[in-house]
């Protein structure tokens, strides 16, 4: 007796109009019909031929061809022992209180950046984005980076306003010296053609426009989806943008995100670890299953979220404003 099963890392997700199979191992998405979704989820323990026998011919052919496609793509397989293949558990855990952070800085900032980074790292944070809206001296930046050797902050994304005082060498030197800079975005300048060091130039990019604040954040597009186990499992229960996130604003205020209004004290007065209250965590558990419209979307566990820019500012559970996907028609509008 043969049963058809999906490999357990290929997870079917039901949308209003169509369904996806999220292949978390090969990082791919397949679209399937609602009918096949039901067959896959409701008749798991029924032998394949029995399921087919129940259907009229048209449906049978459709299921057969979809199943053939899944077998060919190695998304599913036939087995005589379906009980041997338990579901993949989707519980999420990560060894940090704060997992990622944004630090904003401008000319009037008077908090201690290094101290902030070290405090964040004590909360387990290894991924930090620093935005120098008004630029920063390379010497001071280098001094901070040197001090980070004793931490395990291993991925820094730095936004830096361009200064005419620098040349290509200064910037490359920084990248070569500090592998923990995952990416350096230099804005307010034309592309400086760098070609000395192959590895380092992968980690730098130039942007003509200026960046003043966070207003361009929160856009939802298909190519921002992350198809991997970590974010998929996190999204089952937690918010896919704000869970574990902290922002330090240019004035030193402790916030969830640069664009959300709430502040939870100022780093010049409070220790970061004392600011992580239940109130601070209030957005962390708003997941896509609770959000209007998103809960009917077949992308809901792959999609980033945004709680700052909402379709309906009055409703904390409304859909992200900057998403134009309609799951009821399956069209990006």
């Amino acid at each position: 007796m043969k049963y058809f099963l999906l490999f357990q890392s290929c997870i079917p997700v039901k949308g209003a109009k169509r369904c996806t199979i999220c292949d978390l191992a090969k990082k791919d998405i397949y679209f399937i019909s609602l009918g096949l979704y039901e067959f896959l989820t409701e008749f798991e323990n029924v032998p394949y031929h029995e399921i087919l026998d129940f259907q009229d011919e048209e449906v049978r052919d459709k299921i057969k061809s979809e199943v053939d496609f899944l077998v060919e793509k190695e998304v599913g397989f036939f087995t005589s022992n379906p009980k041997k293949f338990p579901r993949l558990k989707l519980d999420w855990a990560y060894p940090a209180v704060i997992s990622n952070a944004i630090i904003e800085h401008n000319n009037s900032s008077d908090y201690n950046i290094l101290d902030v980074i070290q405090q964040l790292n004590q909360q387990g944070c290894k991924f930090i984005e620093i935005r120098f809206y008004d630029g920063y001296s390379l010497e001071s930046l280098e001094a901070i980076l040197k001090q980070l050797d004793s931490t395990d902050v291993n991925s820094l994304i730095i936004y830096l306003k361009y200064s005419a005082k620098w040349n290509r060498k200064n910037l490359l030197r920084l990248l070569i010296l500090f592998p923990r800079i995952a990416h350096l975005h230099v804005f307010g300048t034309q592309d400086l053609k760098l070609n000395e060091n192959e590895e380092a130039i992968q980690r730098i990019s130039f942007h003509k426009g200026l960046i003043h604040d966070n207003s361009c954040c929160g856009t939802i597009k298909e190519n921002y989806f992350s198809i991997n186990f970590q974010s998929f499992s996190e999204a089952q229960e937690y918010n896919s943008c704000l869970n574990g996130k902290m922002t330090i604003s240019a004035t030193g205020n402790i916030k969830n995100c640069p664009s959300l209004p709430e502040t939870y004290g100022n780093v010049k007065k409070v220790a970061i670890k004392n600011s992580i209250s239940d109130n601070f965590r209030k957005y962390w558990k708003i997941n896509k299953d609770q959000i209007d419209i998103c809960r009917d979307c077949e992308f809901r566990y792959l999609c980033p979220d945004c709680r700052a820019f909402l379709k309906d500012a009055e409703n904390p559970f409304s859909k992200p404003k900057k998403c134009n996907y309609n799951p009821y028609t399956a069209v990006w509008e």
């Binding site: 090969k26 190695e74 041997k84 293949f85 579901r87 855990a93 060894p95 940090a96 387990g124 186990f229």
Partner: protein
């Protein structure tokens, strides 16, 4: 305190466990093999690790000297007056290797009163001995043969059909001119192969080839099993040995449920081998049987943990913390 013994590079799984130890605020220290060869003094009574010995309750052994940093012996290292011959170079390497072993073992012995999770002095298992023990504990194993004789090999093949040959001990890695790695992999011994070998050869290990439905890699820790099925037969490149990875199309690795009977036998085997943890390889054959292949006492648990979401890094950290507490 928890003492972690490992190597500087190529051990991300251990760093993942450390992240959890940090998260739980556990006290631990990591020493990499190379550290000992930079800073170690003992008068056979005291040593520069006395303070540490006092604080440590549990030792977790992972790795020690990595392939790249094992002492590279060159002609320049040969003492003056000695012929710069290949033979002498080999002798010097052998000599340094033996000296190294004494240092390592003396260092490990400093912690002999402590509780060990994986003990480097006990993990050098003989594959053949393990197969014998697996059998006596009720596990099915492929037909096995060690021989120096082509005639015996042919007889074995005639009796059992398709045959493979694999390492008696660990895989060895070689590099070519372009620094690409070549390893001593499991191969199928077919008639062409047999035709081209001499009547007598180095003692070699052969097993009957099991046509597999899938392979199982089972991590074992603290009497619990974390089994994963690897569907390598989907892909020709990995049919004989799934370590012949195919990066374009990775094998499907999925959580699995072991039979109680197999678990019972495996537990007895691990107890016989004195192992509290390890990684076990099995094959589920197309005729529905489970064949035991081998056990790796310091297996890579990351490759089982992530695809199956077993969170082994977290479980190992919790287990170490518990051992640390109960052995204070």
């Amino acid at each position: 305190m928890i003492l972690i013994l490992s190597q500087e590079n190529y051990d991300p799984s251990t760093s993942d466990v450390q992240n959890w130890l940090d998260y739980y605020g556990a006290k631990y220290k990591r020493i990499n093999g190379a550290d000992i060869f930079k800073d170690f003094t003992t008068d056979l009574g005291n040593s520069n690790f006395d303070q540490l010995i006092e604080e440590v309750n549990v030792v977790w052994f992972r790795r020690w000297l990595e392939f790249e940093s094992r002492f590279k012996i060159t002609y320049e290292d040969l003492p003056e007056g000695v012929l710069a011959s290949e033979n002498n170079l080999l002798r010097l390497s052998e000599y340094v290797k033996n000296e190294t072993r004494v240092v390592n073992n003396f260092f490990f012995d400093l912690f002999k009163e402590k509780v060990w999770l994986s003990d480097p002095r006990k993990i050098r298992l003989s594959k053949l001995r393990v197969l014998q023990l697996a059998k006596t504990n009720g596990l099915l194993t492929p037909y096995s043969l060690v021989t120096t004789s082509k005639l015996e090999l042919i007889r074995f093949k005639n009796q059992h059909g398709r045959v493979i040959s694999k390492n008696l001990n660990e895989v060895q890695v070689f590099t070519d001119l372009k620094s690409k790695y070549h390893s001593s992999k499991t191969i199928e011994v077919d008639n062409d192969f047999i035709e081209n070998i001499s009547e007598n050869f180095f003692p070699s290990f052969f097993q009957s080839l099991i046509e597999k439905e899938y392979e199982l890699r089972v991590f074992f820790l603290d009497d619990e099993f974390y089994p994963m099925a690897i569907f390598s037969q989907l892909d020709k490149k990995t049919k004989i040995d799934f370590r012949n990875y195919n990066n374009d199309n990775p094998n499907r690795c999925v959580p699995y449920e072991l039979d109680e009977k197999i678990k019972f036998s495996l537990k007895k085997l691990m107890a016989d081998l004195n192992l509290k943890t390890g990684s076990i390889d099995l094959i589920k054959s197309i005729d529905g049987k489970y064949y035991f292949l081998e056990v790796n006492p310091v297996g890579q648990f990351g490759m089982t943990s992530f695809p199956c979401n077993y969170k082994l890094e977290k479980k190992i950290a919790e287990y170490l913390i518990q051992l640390d507490k109960t052995n204070e």
